[in-house]
């Protein structure tokens, strides 16, 4: 049905117009601090038509949006203020590319350049330009749209493309090592509210772990070590879990959702006691992002160590 409609449309207009948007660079490095050093989005709009095109002007729109979504399990609680979970606008710049006029037959390239700049009118919760990120509940997306307005009989032509914002590699931050010890006591303390039966069955163990730095660049692996000093039951496996925590919410309340991104085994079987087993994890590029905190949402990563033991036979 649509195809025929299109054909009719074509016959009437006896013209075939395509517009395309091409960016020279889809990854844009952004520095928040230096205002005068602005990056630009450069590209070209390609108009291809079989006849002369008459139009009412072409505009370019650059948009940056944070989409928040509530996890299904929390929907019930949050329905009350679901209105407040609306997209946060990070960037909205528009620009007139071509004034109304005529574009000749054939392929026409219209180059453009838009500076990438955070919105000037800073509201209280405005986080500035954030890195592109695709998560489960939080999405940060930047798009560039081009539309060509046409005479009132014709629909406007639209095209869009996405670009990615990345931060400039930063100076190495000071390492912040973290140490922890896991014993039945600490487990009990952590799960204070938990059932008594589970706690009672815990064997005697003492595990020491260390992560070289809690702040680590995304392109470098996460390193550390773990040592099992004592464990009365045989260990089945030691695993390192990378968890992403997305928090959405506002003043009224928030939903906190953790998703496992990567889980790798560092120890298989009953590892030797008192030996430092290295922790080494290459961070998955697509699923991690730097920790971000804003009033409305928060993204963080968390490392969890789990030791599975053979449960004692009962």
């Amino acid at each position: 049905m649509e195809a025929t409609a299109g054909e009719i449309f074509k016959k009437r207009n006896s013209e075939n117009i395509k517009i395309k948007l091409k960016l020279y660079e889809i990854f844009v490095i952004h520095t928040n601090e230096l205002d005068f050093f602005q990056e630009t989005i450069a590209g070209v709009v390609v108009v291809e038509s079989s006849g002369d095109v008459r139009h009412e002007g072409m505009t370019l729109l650059m948009e940056g949006v944070v989409n928040l979504q509530l996890s299904t399990k929390n929907v019930g609680i949050f329905e009350a203020f679901s209105n407040s979970i609306k997209p946060i606008n990070l960037l909205n710049t528009s620009l007139e590319l071509v004034p109304p006029g005529k574009i000749p037959v054939g392929i026409t390239d219209i180059p453009f350049e838009i500076p990438l700049r955070a919105r000037q009118a800073v509201s209280s919760g405005y986080p500035g330009l954030l890195e592109t990120y695709h998560g489960v509940f939080v999405n940060i997306m930047y798009t560039l749209k081009c539309s060509m307005k046409r005479s009132f009989l014709n629909k406007p032509l639209n095209t869009s493309c996405q670009f990615f914002v990345q931060y400039r590699p930063q100076e190495p931050t000071p390492v912040k090592p973290v140490r922890c010890e896991i014993t039945p006591a600490t487990v009990r303390a952590a799960g204070a509210g938990g059932g008594g039966a589970a706690r009672a069955s815990l064997p005697q163990f003492q595990i020491y772990a260390e992560i070289d730095s809690t702040v680590c660049p995304l392109d470098k692996p996460l390193t550390g070590k773990i040592r099992v000093d004592e464990c009365t039951v045989p260990i089945k496996s030691i695993e390192l879990q990378l968890v992403r925590v997305e928090t959405c919410g506002c003043a009224e309340g928030y939903s906190r959702d953790a998703t496992e991104i990567q889980n790798i085994q560092v120890g298989e079987g009953d590892v030797a006691r008192g030996r430092d087993v290295p922790l080494y994890m290459v961070l998955p590029r697509l699923f991690t992002c730097p920790t971000v905190t804003t009033t409305n949402f928060k993204i963080g990563t968390l490392v969890e160590l789990s030791t599975f033991c053979y449960t004692l036979c009962k």
Binding site: Q265, G267, G269, A272, V277, P278
Partner: protein, 919 residues
């Protein structure tokens, strides 16, 4: 497929060396393909063919390491085999589900089964195949190996990657431990295939057509971004494998891809992997993982990889006690494994780690000292100690031998693998030069203390093997004897029949025989023979006797054995050997036995006591009656003895004359009695002749005649062909040789005066020739007649051409008596007529060449021996000449030489004239 590969390889090989090597050699190479080889071995060979094909790397270290590893890898494949059923888990093998769900009991299960079957249509469902035999397992592994290549070629790279992961996952399964090392080898081969595929693709991406041979030629800075990106992606992919073991294996298999990114990263990565292996709890899995890491590192870095060998060894030592973890104990006990067998599984891996470590280390002795100290400090050090002793060079080990023995002795009661440690140590000691610092007595004493309290007889004998060699080379015979006595005591005390260990016994005795400086001394030890005869079953004894004899004779340097003890010991062994022969013994076997016994008989020498010597031969005859070859040798030996007596009798003459004559007769009788029991008529004939000649030489006319008569009677029985080495061989030449030898002996044989017949034996022979059904056109026949003719002519002479000193021949006996001459003449006439008949027959049969030869031969005889002054004789000669001239073929040299001889002789001028007239 594989078979084809091999043949293809062989074919290439064939072309390479076509010119230099003979065709037969190549043929055997071809045929070897058809011989059924052990599956593991065949796999191994295949691998070697594959390995051989690439151009050899110019770097010695690289080849050294890969060669060293290849040797180890084949020993692993040969050593660690199993009859247990194996399990393979994979989603890329067809036909697994059937085995898994064979037993379907109730409806619910049936439904489940159906669903599972439906699931199977989807790609990637994991199937478990159980109950595989070792060979089937290897086959499946090969299928997977091919599958990887296939998947890769069809652009299904992720599938190849998944197969790799699944394979490496299999290595976490230590059920059927016995097979684990072999499984490791098989699976790492797959991983290597995968590694090579990835590497080659990256290489292709980076260089297109420019083929770069060596890893070292790759410069990371010249690699295009896209290739780097791909490489990085692969490495990321590896790093995100969830499970530890597959992740480590896969990372290792792709280790060499780092050269595309940065060469500096390789070493830190290896170091990182080294410590990451700590996370593997199962010590067996971990140590083989280390093994693989080192192999990869060695391939990549050559000499530089040695530090990693050492690091991994250190890591292994730090985790050493994990090996004895109760969990592991439970595991191997479930599989009915003993501790020492279990520990043996570690040996190849640890040995490999030590190999690299030792290569790098300049001062081995210090390292050994250090490690021994570590041994001293820890519990259950046997595995480490064994590996140390096994891997270190002899020089260092020998220096530390007392220390090692002390260590063993201290904890001997709770230690396993003592046997292996001591064996290995013993082997090192055997390599010892005559070192002054060595205190062999002390070492042997300590060793004996440990060894004599060992529980397993099998291990005891194993240990004994090198140590006895050490004792033989470094200690006196008394010491060795003491050890042997102790051994006998030990075996008796252990309560098991010695036959169970006959193989080991044999090894021990072999070592002794090979290593003792003077072989004869062995028999002088009073414990040696009892030890040899400790085994009871006849087959084991025979083997033992054979071993002892063959090695004894191969090392025996002097020509004769005179010592009575040695003779009787050897006699005993030979008897054992002989008694083992029965109707079903294969020919080669009895041939080998006979050869050994013959060596013995020929070596025994009683010097002047000839009677004793003859007695010995008599004893031998009764002992070795089953072997013809031995009897033949005995007859020869006795004849030699008789000849020796004769010559001595002549020399001393008179003094020992009576004794000597008696002995000569005894010898002759011995031969005459022994020969008939032989099977082969030809041999018999030969021996009759020989014995007759020797008897004649010793002037034992009666015995000689008896022999000759027997020979004459035997000639018709000689078959036309005899079987020799399974080939039919004509006897003609040999028979004619025997006959002419016999006839020339007959000339000097005096006639038997008891019979009225003149030229008794000769007449008998002529009669026999008449009776014999030889074809008349057979050269053997007419040549024999010609020879008889010669003999008859010679016999008519007044004085014979030769004599035996003491023997009165017919010339002296008859003095050309008329009657005697007439008999001879009659015979000669008959034979001449017979020859003419043959001549005619040959003419009829158109056998011109034979006829020509015979005519000339006869002509020559008539001319030389006949009285040409008589007309018939002259015309006979002329006719023969004409016949020969008529037949004359191209080769008439003989006729020409006869003619020239005649021309020089004034007596034959008449004949010449006659000949000229006729022609």
């Amino acid at each position: 497929m594989k078979e084809l590969d091999i043949s293809y390889y062989l074919f290439q090989n064939l072309q390479k060396q076509s010119a230099s090597k003979s065709f037969i050699e190549n043929l055997s190479k071809w045929s070897s393909n058809f011989e059924e080889a052990d599956p593991l071995l065949r796999y191994e060979q295949m691998k070697q063919y594959e390995d051989d094909s690439p151009i050899e790397s110019s770097f010695d270290d690289f080849t050294n390491y890969s060669n060293a590893w290849n040797i180890r890898r084949s020993t692993v494949l040969n050593k660690f085999t199993t009859g247990e059923k194996l399990t393979i888990v994979s989603s890329f093998l067809p036909g697994g589900e059937k085995t898994l769900f064979r037993q379907v009991s109730n409806l619910n299960e049936k439904v489940k089964h159906r669903l599972e079957q439906l699931d199977d249509f989807e790609e990637g469902s994991v199937r478990k195949t159980m109950g595989l035999s070792q060979q089937e397992f290897i086959m499946k592994i090969n299928v997977l190996n091919d599958e990887i290549k296939k998947a890769w070629e069809s652009e299904q790279r992720v599938k190849a990657f998944k197969i790799g992961i699944q394979c490496s996952k299999m290595l976490s399964d230590v059920n059927v431990m016995q097979f684990y090392p072999s499984k490791f080898v098989l699976i790492t081969d797959i991983l290597e295939t995968f590694g090579i595929l990835v590497f080659d693709r990256l290489k292709e991406k980076s260089y297109k057509q420019n083929v770069i041979k060596d890893i070292n030629d790759i410069d990371p800075s010249s690699i295009p971004e896209s290739a780097k990106e791909t490489c990085q992606n692969w490495l990321f992919k590896m790093a995100s494998i969830r499970e530890l073991l597959p992740r480590l294996y896969m990372e290792m298999s792709l280790l060499k891809c780092y050269v595309f990114l940065s060469k500096n990263e390789i070493k830190p990565t290896i170091a990182r992997l080294t410590i990451m292996i700590r996370g593997i709890g199962n010590p067996l899995v971990a140590v083989y993982l280390r093994n693989y890491l080192c192999t990869i590192a060695a391939k990549l870095l050559g000499k530089e990889s040695e530090e990693f060998f050492y690091n991994n060894l250190k890591e292994f030592l730090d985790e050493y006690q994990q090996i004895f973890h109760p969990m592991m104990k439970k595991k191997y006990e479930v599989q009915l494994f003993t501790l020492d067998k279990y520990l043996n599984l570690y040996v190849p891996a640890v040995d490999w780690l030590l190999f690299g470590t030792l290569n790098s280390n300049k001062c081995k002795l210090t390292l050994l000292e250090e490690l021994l100290q570590q041994c001293e400090k820890m519990e259950n050090f046997e595995l480490l100690l064994f590996c140390l002793v096994h891997a270190f060079d002899s020089e260092s080990v020998i220096k530390k031998a007392p220390k090692i023995l002390e260590l063993v002795q201290k904890s001997a009661d709770k230690m396993v693998m003592i046997g292996d440690i001591l064996t290995s140590l013993g082997e090192h000691l055997c390599n010892a030069e005559n070192n002054r610092q060595l205190a062999p007595e002390a070492l042997i004493q300590t060793w004996w203390k440990i060894a004599s309290s060992m529980k397993s007889t099998f291990h005891f004998l194993q240990v004994l093997e090198p140590w006895i060699q050490f004792a033989c080379t470094h200690l006196s015979t008394q010491h060795v004897n003491i050890i042997l006595r102790g051994t006998i005591r030990y075996i008796i005390k252990c309560g098991k029949p010695a036959d169970e260990f006959s193989g080991n016994f044999q090894f021990v005795i072999k070592r002794m025989l090979k290593s003792i400086p003077d072989v004869e001394e062995l028999f002088l030890m009073d414990a040696f023979m009892p030890l040899v005869e400790l085994v009871q079953t006849s087959s084991a004894r025979t083997m033992m006797a054979k071993t002892v004899l063959s090695i004894f004779f191969s090392r025996f340097i002097s020509v004769t054995i005179e010592d009575l003890i040695i003779i009787s010991s050897l006699m005993r062994l030979c008897c054992i050997l002989h008694d083992s022969i029965n109707a079903v013994t294969v020919e080669d076997e009895s041939k080998a036995c006979a050869e050994l016994i013959n060596k013995f008989i020929q070596a025994v020498n009683y010097e002047d006591d000839l009677e004793q010597q003859l007695n010995f031969y008599v004893e031998c005859r009764s002992a070795f009656i089953k072997l013809d070859a031995v009897l033949v040798v005995l007859v020869y030996a006795v004849n030699r003895l008789a000849a020796r007596t004769g010559s001595r009798g002549a020399g001393v003459s008179g003094v020992g004359g009576g004794g000597a004559r008696w002995l000569q007769r005894a010898c002759a009788a011995y031969c005459f009695v022994t020969v008939p029991s032989l099977h082969c008529a030809l041999t018999r004939a030969h021996l009759y002749l020989l014995s007759g000649q020797v008897a004649l030489l010793n002037n034992c006319i009666g015995q000689a005649e008896a022999n000759f008569k027997a020979l004459v009677g035997l000639i018709p029985d000689i078959p036309e062909f005899i079987l020799e080495d399974n080939q039919r061989k004509p006897t003609h030449i040999k028979v004619s040789g025997i006959i002419s030898d016999f006839l020339s002996t007959l000339l000097i044989l005096p006639d038997n005066m008891d019979t009225n017949c003149k030229a008794y034996v000769l007449s008998g022979f002529i009669k026999m020739i008449e009776r014999i059904h030889w074809s008349k056109s057979d050269p053997l026949y007419y040549n024999t007649l010609l020879r008889i003719l010669d003999l008859l002519c010679e016999m008519t002479q007044d004085t014979y051409a030769y004599h035996i000193e003491a023997v009165l021949s017919n010339d002296k006996l008859y003095g050309s008596e008329e009657e005697f001459i007439q008999v001879l003449d009659k015979h000669a006439t008959n034979i001449c007529q017979e020859l003419l008949v043959v001549l005619k027959m040959l003419g009829d049969a158109k056998e011109t060449k034979k006829q020509y030869n015979l005519a000339l031969e006869l002509f020559w005889r008539v001319v030389r021996r006949g009285d040409l002054s008589k007309a018939p004789m002259l015309s006979l000669a002329a006719n023969l000449w004409i016949l020969s001239q008529k037949l004359q073929d191209s080769n008439n040299k003989m006729a020409i030489s006869i003619l020239t001889a005649l021309k020089n002789d004034p007596a034959s001028q008449v004949l010449l004239r006659k000949l000229e007239e006729t022609t």
